[in-house]
């Protein structure tokens, strides 16, 4: 399970994977779906990975390759554990 504390994602060993934060404060309705698993943010013309459709291992692999990858994280997704 991936943990999210504040704006930071950690793997199950407590290793920091990424700081989540959008300088444009983009919201879901502003994103355009490009493929079932990818969304486009028109503000930066960047793809956003829809984590609803990825496993925990896939997300870790994506972030290990590029920490700047933008993610959409649904708090209802059971692979994420939100901590106070």
């Amino acid at each position: 399970m991936l943990s999210i504390k504040g704006q930071t994602i950690f793997d199950e060993n407590g290793k920091k994977l990424k700081e989540i934060g959008c300088p444009h404060r983009v919201t879901t309705s502003e994103l355009q779906r490009v493929t079932p698993t990818k969304l486009l943010c028109e503000k930066c013309s960047k793809d956003i990975i829809d984590t609803d459709y990825f496993t925990e291992a896939q997300i870790i692999e994506i972030l290990n390759k590029d920490k700047e990858t933008c993610l959409k994280i649904n708090p209802i997704n059971p692979i994420f554990n939100f901590k106070e």
Binding site: T27, S29, L71
Partner: protein, 169 residues
């Protein structure tokens, strides 16, 4: 899937609005001098699921079962199920509504706290209206709580909070 409370952290910061769902409760508050907002509940089309729920009857045993399609598909824990025509009759297909259907609860009322000033923000622990909070796969999730503004006549629910529920970045 059931709905979700997502903004309970506002409960300590804002005045809380009480929701009532029976006439006796509503009349009690009116008799005590409270203002209220009566809400006629409606279907929100955004809360229909993206899948069909099919009921099948086994031709041999006569027992019923439910599924999403006749063709094989995966369910939880990697299990595959199917309902081939040779073995199963289709009884009915419905598109589930994942809010609270108005036939189940046709109205509700918000009780306005006596000292609440117009344009003041409120926390609503039990939303009467059906709003889409988020989707997960083919399920739709209802917002069970919310924040709104007391206009003096109505409570305007802040829909922008639903849109910022998912984290992006």
């Amino acid at each position: 899937m059931t709905g979700r409370r997502f903004c309970e952290h506002y409960a300590d910061k804002l005045v809380n609005v009480i929701t009532v769902k029976t006439l006796s409760e509503l009349n009690d508050y009116i008799a005590k001098g409270y203002k209220h907002v009566y809400i006629k509940r409606r279907i929100n089309p955004e809360l229909y699921s993206d899948y069909d729920l099919m009921t099948f009857k086994n031709k041999q045993t006569g027992l019923y079962s439910t599924g999403r399609q006749r063709e094989p598909y995966m369910v939880q824990y990697g299990r595959e199920i199917s309902f081939p025509e040779a073995d199963w009759d289709l009884v009915q297909t419905i598109q589930p509504y994942e809010g609270i259907h108005p036939e189940t609860q046709s109205w509700g009322a918000y009780i306005i706290p006596k000292d609440l000033e117009p344009m003041e923000s409120v926390y609503i622990p039990d939303l009467i209206e059906d709003f889409l909070l988020t989707s997960f796969w083919d399920h739709k999730i209802r917002a069970d709580d919310g924040v709104g503004i007391w206009t003096g006549k109505n409570i305007q629910v802040d829909k922008s909070l639903f849109d910022s529920y998912q984290l992006i970045g």
